[in-house]
Amino acid sequence: MLNTFMVYVENKPGVLTRVASLFRRRAFNIDSLTVGRTEKPEVSRMTITVDADGDQARRIEANLYKLVNVLLVENITNQPAIVRDLAMIRVAARHEARSHVFELANVFRARVVDVAPESLTLEITGGEDKIDGLLELLRPYGVLEMVRTGIVAMRRGSRSAGTNLTAENAAAGADSGTARDDVSYSV
């Protein structure tokens, strides 16, 4: 099954290579990996999705922790989380097809970000299923080009995993998932 890991790492050169090399070396297959800045300049955050069973997922987590630059790993596969992917889709849209594409974009809350005589480019943000859905419906018109960012994820609730990334908190953080103030609602 697809596991989603949030990985906090030190923002240092070469850390992405270390993480990617680990997955290759241990023969774990990365489905998607995104990396970017966080609210702290010294911390970067990765969202990694990987196909693994429960034992493998535990081993991935343990192996990630062996990397000296990894601060905190959270497997949020079975946790309430906000998960978002972004796609840009260039679709052939001539004559009457144009209005159909506009309509689909509206329904999916996608934005038209580029208009050309024979094509439209849509930008859509959402869960992977939603993007897959739009993509499926656009395919008959001719998808000329498509790019996706891979997912980024964040836990729901007010507790932020990375607020205090000291060694002790990080070690304990992975297990202490359910605090009282963790209640929140999807909006």
Binding site: R18, A62, V68
Partner: protein, 593 residues
């Protein structure tokens, strides 16, 4: 520049002592040596070259003794042998490019056996990085998978903290090799050294884990309910320094102890509860005991494929308790029932007061029965019939040196397995061998490192004629350092272990295994080393004694039986109890199950 410790006390020294100046301006190169000294380093093994020259230039001001090797691979194995013999961090130094890449095998060797070494390499100037400059290699990229951690240092100001972190990472938790790659300009430029301020900053590094109380409870329940338990004693016992605790535990709980190759010495060979070595070339009864056990207590070992055989049939009726410092080893090869993640010694100390003394004489008696006809199949109990068998040589060597302060350093192959079977190790750190990576050429340089670490020890190299020729250039290092090391070449004219596999599994097609060897006596003579050649059993003991009496190093060329075989053997991928046995002189058919 002048080393601060030797700085002449000029007129202004007085004012400086008043303000107790904490920092001093030094070159990166001098900072490097000063930091190594502060980390307790007394010896380094290295080879100079362009990008590391500033560091070598500053070496003259340091108290550290530099051992000039003949190949950088040798430097890493020496650092490794030094670490294995002493328990301290070993240090190897090389230049950029080929110097650094030559160290890769040594780092991989140390990585797989969890040996703390720090490798320091020069790198081209930071402005030249990425330009394919002369002798430029991305060595931090190359060594990513074979180091515990590595660093590229481009500023003198980063050297102190990096060295402190490197030593801390190398020796803490599950130890391992750390590479520090320092650009030439970082070595040359100057900055202030403030040792106190250069504390390690490793917010993500957590080497000190300990199990939850509930896990201790579950472990104790399994131990107390077990009728047929076995301790699997690994290298972690030696790393953790838990020899005493393992012994206490085994004696109190009445549990027999099987050892991995790297565990040899962790539990005394002569102890009544010691079964011997397990695995591919383990004793038959040890493997049978594991297969029949109802509980395995894995102490600092990692269920390597060489000790488990096929996992499908491995210890099928046994519950498993795994005491291990590295969480990533839990459930890696063998699914365990109770993992206790932490330092072995601390975990055992926690466990010990709750362990009940249980009489397990029935189980121990039944293990005795498993020995069956092993004794009559043992080559030590067979007549030599005029042949010189390697197993006899090693057994005789053990008899002669057993009471001394002896460290045996082996290479890889048949002689290594015979050593493991017939040299009985009573103490930790008396066997130094490349287990995980199986690095041929390891023995001679590792022995040099061991001898430098323990000058009072009697160091014996046991090495095959193949592996010896991989790193024999280090004979020059041995002579240059005036080290008394004895070298026993087990010379069968073959790459013996590969030949054995060809005999069993490739229809005796001895492709590329026969060796045309040099005259080892003349070779030794060329280096100024005395040598002897032995081809009969009766000459073994006198040769060993002559070597021990001789004041310098000695090379003994044991010309042994060419097509000899290590028994028992579990074929790769076979079940642990499915062993190829030495044909019994009495029972004609092998009692394979």
């Amino acid at each position: 520049m002048t080393h601060p410790k030797n700085a002449p006390s000029a007129g202004k020294a007085k004012t400086e002592t008043n303000t107790e100046k904490k920092t001093k301006t030094m070159t990166g190169a001098s900072i490097l040596w000063e930091c190594l000294e502060r980390e307790g380093v007394k010896h380094v093994f290295g080879y100079p070259g362009g990008a590391i020259l500033p560091a070598y230039d500053a070496l003259k001001h340091s108290k550290i003794h530099h051992v000039l090797v003949r190949h950088e691979q040798g430097a890493t194995h020496m650092a490794d042998g030094y670490a294995r013999a002493s328990g301290e961090v070993g240090v190897a130094v090389a230049t950029s490019g080929p110097g650094a890449t030559n160290m890769v095998t040594g780092m991989a060797t140390a990585m797989l056996d969890s040996i703390p070494i720090v490798c320091i390499t020069g790198q081209v100037g930071s402005k030249l990085i990425g330009t394919d400059a002369f002798q430029e290699t991305d060595i931090t990229g190359v060594t990513l998978p074979v180091t515990k951690h590595n660093y590229l240092v481009t500023h003198a100001g980063e050297i102190a903290r990096t060295i402190r972190e490197a030593f801390y990472v190398a020796r803490s938790g599950r130890p391992g090799p750390v590479l520090v790659d320092i650009t030439k300009d970082a070595q040359q430029s100057t900055c202030e050294l403030d040792w106190e301020a250069a504390k390690p900053q490793l917010p993500g590094y957590r080497p000190d884990l300990s199990p939850a109380p509930a896990e201790y409870e579950r472990a104790l329940e399994l131990i107390h309910n077990s009728k047929r338990p076995v301790i699997l004693a690994g290298h972690g016992i030696i790393i953790s320094g838990a020899m005493r605790e393992v012994r206490d535990f085994a004696e109190r709980a009445g549990i027999p102890v099987a050892l991995t190759l790297l565990g040899l010495g962790a539990f005394p060979a002569s102890h009544p509860l010691n079964l011997g070595m397990m695995g591919m070339h383990g004793e038959a009864w040890v493997n049978h005991t594991i297969q029949e056990a109802d509980l395995l207590l894995a102490f600092g070992m990692r269920f390597d494929d060489r000790v488990t055989g096929t996992l499908k049939t491995y210890a099928p009726n046994a519950k498993k308790i795994h005491i291990e410092i590295d969480p990533a080893e839990i459930h890696k090869n063998v699914k365990v029932d109770v993992p206790l993640v932490g330092d072995l010694r601390e975990v055992l100390l926690e466990l010990m007061p709750h362990v009940e003394s249980i009489d397990r004489s029935e189980w121990l008696d039944s293990i005795d029965k498993l020995k069956g006809d092993s004794a009559v199949r043992d080559i030590q109990n067979l007549p030599d019939s005029g042949h010189l068998y390697a197993a006899h040589v090693i057994n005789d060597l053990w008899h002669q040196t057993r009471d001394g302060n002896t460290i045996v350093v082996t290479d890889v192959g048949q002689h290594q397995m015979w050593e493991a079977q017939y040299y009985k190790h009573e103490h930790p750190r008396t066997l130094i061998t490349s287990g995980g990576l199986g690095t041929m050429g390891f023995a001679l340089p590792a022995a040099i490192g061991a001898k430098v670490a323990c000058p009072e020890a009697e160091v014996w190299v046991i090495v095959g004629d193949g592996g010896f020729q991989m790193t024999m250039c280090e004979l020059a290092t041995l002579v240059q350092e005036n080290l008394k090391i004895h070298i026993a070449i087990i010379n069968n004219g073959f790459l013996g272990m590969v030949r054995q596999w060809q005999e069993f599994f490739y229809d005796r097609n001895y492709a590329a295994t026969p060796l045309l060897n040099p005259d080892f006596a003349k070779l030794a003579e060329a280096y100024g080393i005395r040598s002897m050649t032995v081809s009969e059993r009766a000459e073994v003991v006198p040769a060993v004694e002559a070597a021990r009496r001789h004041e310098g190093p000695m090379l003994i060329n044991f010309k042994v039986e060419q097509e000899d075989t290590v028994y028992p053997m579990v074929a790769a991928g076979a079940a642990l109890h499915d062993m190829i046995r030495r044909p019994s002189p009495i029972v004609e058919t092998a009692e394979d199950e």
